[in-house]
């Protein structure tokens, strides 16, 4: 090799090495700094067993961890447990705990902490019914925890992954703490710093955090999580314009609840971007199955037949995706093809036939909605016009969300049709749908559905569970207890100096860093 060739080769190597070094450096996860994230409101309480709102849960899941958690596709995956074994016809569940996991205080987590947590959950949690069927617990050694149920529950582990009212592990000395008075000590990657209600809350990196080294990286709420930043500051800004202004003026690095309209203000700004998240929630028309006109299945089916999804979505202007099913395609229980037969029928003529069979005679059908969520109000207004086209005497009532929500859950307020979005059940799967399906349409008795749910919970064989869910979903849609409108997405805004953000139902700040 001549000197010239050598020099050239070396020069090229240096240039390539330099370029690679530059690339590596630009992708490197920088340590330190603070990410400021603005949400609509702050948490009321950080007692995980009572946590039901999105912001509470985002914070709670940063501080605490569960035995089994949701993975990236919202399916169950062990987190504080390294292994879960199901036995005795799905009546016994043995959790082998990861060794060396520490609370933020530095104390090691053992099965005694898990036992105390389950006992406290059964006593104070809003979702205590989860453990109502427990016969007994066992802690044969510090790293094994066994739950014995009185009857078979094939989806018990799936229920444990629930991110709402999460059954996180707390130190054993918190066992007798009353609801919402627990000390905020968890095994998660963050720990609580300063918290000024209505103003801000700071999460600090938990230096005692022990990641799951067996995983290659983070996976939903589970996996191997790494915190690069020193802290996360949650800033509570209720007004959407002010929240966006805070992002534009770089007072915050990321914001929640951005609307499509407001997002247009970010156009042309290279430093700011949006984070679209699907799946997020699903919007439904809910039909009151035990009140007046809609107690008649033929009337409910007639309502389903008039629905024109595209018109509704165009009027609401929300971030949405068509999906006929009660679940998302990533779910092993997804039955999209079957659901298509009941989706977006836009057939006023068929509705008229059904109304005739039902003996409908122009009686008033009450559509109730609220003024707090414009997309709900607009959906109901469009539906009322679609119903009128089929000859239905639709009467729209607009009230406030609290009253609307209360009426939906309690069946009060003399309504026939309303609309709302469900977020957890579609994400978490069939086992989470049961309460929602019976509660919101106020189903009195439905023996075929009762039997299918029984089979879903009792079948150890997954194929049998899939069949059971297929029957349930078909029944819900056929009987028009719920009419699927659309999948709705979430839009967040962020400054591109925040790296590593990934779309997920909850905003996660592990494995994110500042450029």
């Amino acid at each position: 090799m001549s000197l010239r060739t050598l020099t050239l080769t070396l020069s090229i190597s240096i240039v390539i090495a330099g370029a690679l070094a530059g690339t590596t450096s630009s992708l490197a996860q920088n340590k330190g700094g603070q990410i400021v994230y603005s949400t609509v409101a702050g948490p009321a309480s950080l007692d995980p067993y009572m946590a039901g709102s999105l912001v509470e849960l985002e914070i709670v899941h940063g501080i605490f961890e569960t035995l089994v958690a949701m993975d990236e596709n919202y399916n169950a995956r062990p987190m504080l447990a390294s292994k879960v074994e199901t036995g005795d016809e799905a009546k016994t569940f043995t959790f082998t705990l990861r060794k060396g996991v520490k609370f933020s205080t530095g104390q090691e987590m053992t099965s005694a902490d898990v036992l105390a947590s389950f006992q406290r959950y059964a006593k104070v949690s809003t979702n205590a019914s989860l453990l109502a069927d427990v016969e007994k617990y066992e802690t044969p050694d510090p790293y094994t925890f066994v739950v014995h149920l009185k009857s078979t529950n094939a989806v018990f582990v799936d229920l444990l992954k629930s991110s709402t009212y999460p059954l996180v592990v707390l130190p054993a000395d918190q066992k007798d703490k009353p609801a919402r008075e627990v000390e905020i000590i968890g095994t998660g990657p963050f720990k609580l710093g300063e918290w000024q209600k209505d103003s801000h809350l700071v999460l600090l990196r938990n230096d005692n955090y022990v990641p799951d080294e067996t995983a290659s990286g983070p996976d939903g709420f589970a996996g191997n999580k790494t915190v690069y930043v020193d802290s996360i500051r949650y800033m509570f800004i209720p007004e959407a314009n002010a929240r966006l202004a805070a992002l534009q003026t770089k007072k915050v690095d990321a914001i929640a609840d951005l609307t499509l309209d407001l997002a247009k203000r970010l156009d042309g700004n290279a430093e700011l971007a949006t984070l679209k998240t699907f799946p997020y929630c699903q919007q439904y028309f809910v039909l009151h199955a035990t009140n007046g006109l809609t107690a008649n299945p033929l009337i409910r089916q007639a309502i389903r037949e008039v629905v024109n999804v595209d018109d509704i979505v165009a009027a609401t202007g929300i971030l949405s995706q068509r999906n006929p099913s009660l679940l998302y395609p990533a779910s092993p229980y997804y039955a999209g093809e079957m659901a298509t037969t009941f989706y977006d029928q836009k057939s006023p003529e068929k509705a008229k036939e059904l109304l005739k069979q039902a003996g409908y005679n122009g009686e008033k059908l009450i559509l109730q909605t609220n003024s707090n969520y414009p997309y709900m109000r607009d959906s109901i207004l469009v539906l009322s016009e679609q119903l009128k086209e089929a000859g239905i005497n639709a009467d729209v009532q607009v009230i406030d969300w609290m009253s609307n929500s209360n009426n939906l859950q309690r069946g009060t307020g003399n309504w026939n049709v309303s609309t709302t979005s469900f977020c957890s059940p579609p994400l978490l799967g069939p086992q989470q749908w049961k309460s929602t399906i019976y509660t919101f349409p106020h189903i009195d008795k439905d023996p075929p559905m009762d039997a299918a749910f029984d089979s879903l919970f009792k079948s150890v064989d997954q194929q049998a569970r899939k069949t059971a869910w297929f029957d349930i979903e078909k029944r819900v849609l056929d009987q028009s207890y719920l009419i699927k409108v659309t999948d709705t997405g979430s839009l967040r805004g962020y400054n591109t100096r925040v790296q590593g953000l990934k779309p997920y139902f909850y905003m996660r700040f592990w494995n994110t860093w500042l450029k």
């Binding site: 209505d198 209720p238 007072k251």
Partner: protein
């Protein structure tokens, strides 16, 4: 005077009691359930029922009212359902924010409103009068939440002069505190400035037509003294009355402005409480508001006596 103040305080007791009963009744008449707000809109009925029992909401209404009055008699305003904190401490924590905002707004409102009113009256039927009155009308008519949003877009995003949201305590420096509050204070003041300017103009016009003003001018007293010493002083009774009302309105108006500018004050606390149907929080906060309004009215009565010695209580 002391007897008069004591009398006014005694008269205030039934006002506050009736107010408390009204707040309790109206709030419980509202549809909606705090248990639903706490449990979440997707919660199962048994979860909601569990919370209702935990919070004592399943007890009869009269029993709840009696329990509330019993606690009030001991100075206990109750415990917020959503914050799990005593209402009084929640209010006390947020009081500095609302008071800072209200008083800053008042210090903008009173001199500006009075000055504009006096100028409009002095140059009545001139272009200046028309300008002031039209501006006052616009100020009174614009919804404060809309004005607040426009202000954020222009002064925070476009000009970058002030932070768009959030509060910095005065302990962290005068300028950070002022820069966080100046925008909401001005937005809050705009409505009241228009109101005060119109009242001042009207009162001033009445006084300027009086014989003693003509006499002062006939005696050759200079215009400044005539206006500031003779005319303005005699407009003070209605102006003081309105300023007292304005302070009450500013505290009340803070509900909207605190929400837009994300100021952690009492106004925002009330909005949260109402949205979540947090009965103890709304009842307690409204009652504290009620106390403040009564106190402001008594204070205004005392100022009357200072401004016009002819005024007596009783």
């Amino acid at each position: 005077m002391l007897r008069g103040v004591a009398l006014r305080l005694l008269q205030a007791i039934p006002v506050v009691v009736i107010f408390a009963v009204l707040v309790f009744t109206l709030l419980h008449l509202l549809p909606g359930d705090p248990a639903v707000a706490i449990a979440g809109s997707e919660a199962a009925p048994e979860a909601i029922e569990r919370i209702r029992q935990q919070l004592g909401l399943d007890r009869p209404l009269l029993e709840q009212l009696a329990a509330w009055f019993g606690r009030l008699a001991h100075g206990d305003f109750g415990t917020s359902l959503i914050l799990n904190q005593s209402v009084l401490s929640a209010v006390v924590e947020r009081l500095p924010v609302t008071l800072s905002l209200s008083f800053l707004s008042l210090t903008i409102t009173v001199p500006t409103g009075i000055m504009l009113g006096v100028l409009a009256a002095y140059w009545r039927n001139s272009w200046l009068d028309s300008l002031v009155m039209v501006s006052a009308l616009v100020g009174v008519s614009l919804p404060s939440f809309w004005l607040a949003i426009l202000s954020v877009i222009f002064f925070s995003v476009t000009l970058g002069w002030f932070p768009p949201a959030g509060y910095t305590p005065i302990s962290q420096g005068l300028w950070p505190w002022l820069s966080a509050l100046i925008q909401p204070a001005v937005v809050l003041a705009l409505f009241q400035i228009g109101f005060l300017a119109r009242i001042t103009r009207s009162a001033m016009l009445d006084v300027l037509d009086q014989d003693f003003i003509r006499t002062a001018r006939a005696k050759g007293v200079d215009e400044w003294t005539t206006i500031s010493k003779h005319a303005f002083r005699n407009t003070l009774i209605p102006v003081v009355t309105v300023s007292g009302i304005i302070l009450s309105l500013l505290i009340g108006g803070s509900v909207v402005v605190e929400q837009v500018f994300a100021l952690p004050g009492i106004g925002r606390l009330i909005v949260q409480g109402i949205l979540a149907r947090d009965y103890p929080l709304v009842q307690g906060t409204m009652l504290i508001f009620g106390f403040s309004f009564v106190a402001i009215n008594i204070l205004v009565d005392i100022i009357y006596m200072t401004v016009d010695p002819r005024v007596r209580f009783g």
